[in-house]
């Protein structure tokens, strides 16, 4: 257990509104060093918004973010990346008309320094290595990603985040959504391996609670823009989490009438 480890990331009292819609009301959570935190919640609960605030994509209306105990103001995605925050977005952020290896190094392109020209050979080489390492087979890394299946695309997005040299915090927003059982197991293995290596701290968003409990140390539930539940994975179960989510729906139904 990593219960005594210091916090790699802490967010306090985060709020975010889009026009008249309140996406996040008052969210506080913390992520310990080397920990895998599962974040679950209904569709529309604000999970992706929270992730996009931590990656610098959205700016929060209120609240503070601390990295390794130091307060940071995340002004842009590239700034968050420089601080070691890497993300697999729900929409994958792949460019369909670009090759697999250019997607793998999107905004992290390797150049023949000091020349500003792309070092495609090195990018191809590393892309092959990363994909082999995960164990996902792609017919050719020179095809455009539009030609690939959902699972293959997801694998590329995951590999891109995981193999960033400077990844300290990984945010995985439903990395298993489009994956078959085998590919999903590969990604879960990868998360497990990363956890054992101890270098990164991970927030994993998933709808499959069995997956969450398989690799996570701790589970948080986000409901109506707040964290409503925080327990070690060992002290909860798929049944309890399911019950938690469903009971809310039942309450709303019986309470609301009609």
């Amino acid at each position: 257990m990593t219960a005594e480890a210091p916090d790699a990331l802490r967010v306090e009292n985060i709020a975010k509104r889009f026009g008249s819609v309140t996406a996040l009301q008052d969210v506080s959570l913390h992520l310990r060093k080397g920990e895998v935190l599962g974040l679950i919640g209904d569709n529309g609960a604000g999970k992706s918004t929270l992730i996009k605030i931590i990656t610098g994509f959205h700016r929060p209306d209120a609240g503070r973010i601390y990295l390794d105990g130091e307060e940071v103001e995340l002004k842009s995605v590239s700034q968050a990346q420089r601080l070691g925050i890497q993300t697999v977005y729900q929409d994958l952020a792949l460019v369909n008309d670009m090759t697999v290896y250019h997607n793998m190094f999107l905004n992290k392109e390797i150049t023949w320094r000091p020349l500003p020209l792309l070092n495609n050979r090195k990018m191809k080489h590393l892309t092959r290595r990363y994909l082999d390492d995960i164990g996902v087979s792609i017919p050719s890394i020179e095809t455009e990603v539009a030609m690939l299946s959902g699972g293959q695309r997801q694998a590329i997005a995951v590999a891109r985040a995981v193999y960033s040299e400077d990844a300290r915090i990984l945010l995985l927003d439903e990395p298993l959504a489009a994956m078959g059982a085998k590919e999903g197991a590969m990604i879960l293995d990868l998360v497990q391996r990363l956890k054992e290596s101890g270098g990164v701290s991970i927030i994993l968003i998933a709808h499959n609670y069995a997956h969450v409990l398989e690799v996570c140390d701790r589970v948080n539930v986000l409901q109506h823009g707040r964290i409503t539940y925080d327990k070690p994975a060992a002290e909860t179960s798929v049944e309890e989490l399911t019950e938690l989510m469903v009971s809310e729906y039942r309450r709303a139904r019986t309470g609301g009438g009609g």
Binding site: D91, V95, M98, L118, I138, M147
Partner: protein
């Protein structure tokens, strides 16, 4: 675990050819250009005399340079309608700096180009920070600059600067234009395909949200490419002014802009965002120039040229949208 990346089957010759045509849209337009040149040469051997080649090269150079800048903007899914006015604006600003402010010619040229960069900056800022669609923003700029150009020279064409080595290099020498076009082609091709700027341009046009999520500074990419497009338009205009030895406020305008957009589209930049090639735009400019020049030699009217140009653009777009997208989908591997 062994890599599967190299384990691809070798297709037969015909599928390979088809693949090449689908993959490299430039191949198709290259075949068309060569075919047109042969056709016009066989109809009238005067087509390939030195004099006519020179005319062809001069006409083509301006279109090709303007098109290479438009490609960058069109890959972003944007358009720059004002580029034809930047074409006339740059030499006018140059003339003011040179003739009115009495600056040396090199400095005057630089000032002319900076003025067009400012035009591109305004276009880009209107698009990025005010959210005005680029069609509308650059339409406004088209009229604004068009009027300003005439006002700045009080309605009359002005003489180009007197002869100098720089004037020769910038267009007065008969083959200067096409040489610049080739240099710019090489530069833009490398910029688009072998630099981070080019990759980020493709990414921003292909998946705007995704590019932002990946941390690409999409605003900088968009504004920068609008500036680049305007500057290339202005540079082509300076070359043209030096060549015809006159600074004409009515040079360029809608005609060069539409020709350059057509060249880009025919060459394989469909304005759908995320796709484009500078080399193709160059070949598109070649094909258009050959067509126009060949018709002129044969005594076919400009209206016929327009009809053929119109049909070509439509056919190319239909091919783009239907045939190529379908073929690509057909190649989907799982």
């Amino acid at each position: 675990m062994a890599t599967q990346a190299t384990a691809e089957k070798r297709p037969g010759f015909f599928p390979q050819l088809l693949e090449a045509l689908v993959r490299r849209q430039e191949a198709g337009i290259l075949v068309v250009s060569v075919g047109l040149i042969l056709y016009f040469y066989l109809r009238n051997p005067a087509f390939l005399t030195q004099g006519n080649i020179q005319t062809l090269a001069q006409f083509m150079a301006a279109t090709a340079i303007v098109a290479s800048g438009l490609v960058m903007v069109m890959i972003l899914g944007e358009i720059d309608l004002s580029v034809g006015q930047a074409f006339a604006f740059a030499p006018i600003v140059m003339w003011i700096a040179y003739d009115q402010l009495l600056l040396v010619l090199p400095l005057a040229v630089v000032i002319g180009l900076l003025a067009t960069a400012a035009v591109g900056l305004v276009n880009g800022v209107m698009r990025v920070f005010f959210g005005v669609p680029s069609f509308v923003a650059t339409l406004g700029m088209f009229f604004l600059l068009g009027g300003l150009n005439v006002i700045l020279v009080a309605g009359f064409p002005k003489p180009a600067p007197e002869a100098s080595w720089l004037k020769s290099a910038l267009g007065a020498y008969p083959y200067a234009g096409i040489m610049w076009a080739l240099v710019i082609l090489a530069f833009m091709h490398v910029l688009l395909n072998y630099t981070r700027w080019g990759m980020h341009t493709f990414a921003t046009g292909g998946n705007f949200i995704g590019a932002r999520e990946a941390g690409i500074r999409v605003d900088r990419i968009r504004i920068g490419n609008f500036m680049l497009c305007s500057m290339l338009g202005g540079f082509a205009g300076i070359l043209e002014a030096m060549r015809i030895n006159s600074i004409d406020p009515l040079a360029g305008g809608a005609e060069i802009m539409f020709l350059a957009i057509s060249a880009a589209v025919i060459g394989g930049t469909p304005l759908a965002g995320g796709i484009g090639t500078v080399f193709g735009a160059f070949l598109g400019a070649l094909a258009l120039s050959v067509l126009r020049n060949g018709f002129t030699l044969q005594g076919v009217s400009a209206f016929t040229f327009n009809v053929i140009l119109g049909i070509t653009v439509l056919i190319v777009m239909v091919l783009n949208v239907y045939v190529i997208t379908r073929l690509r989908k057909g190649r989907r591997v799982t």
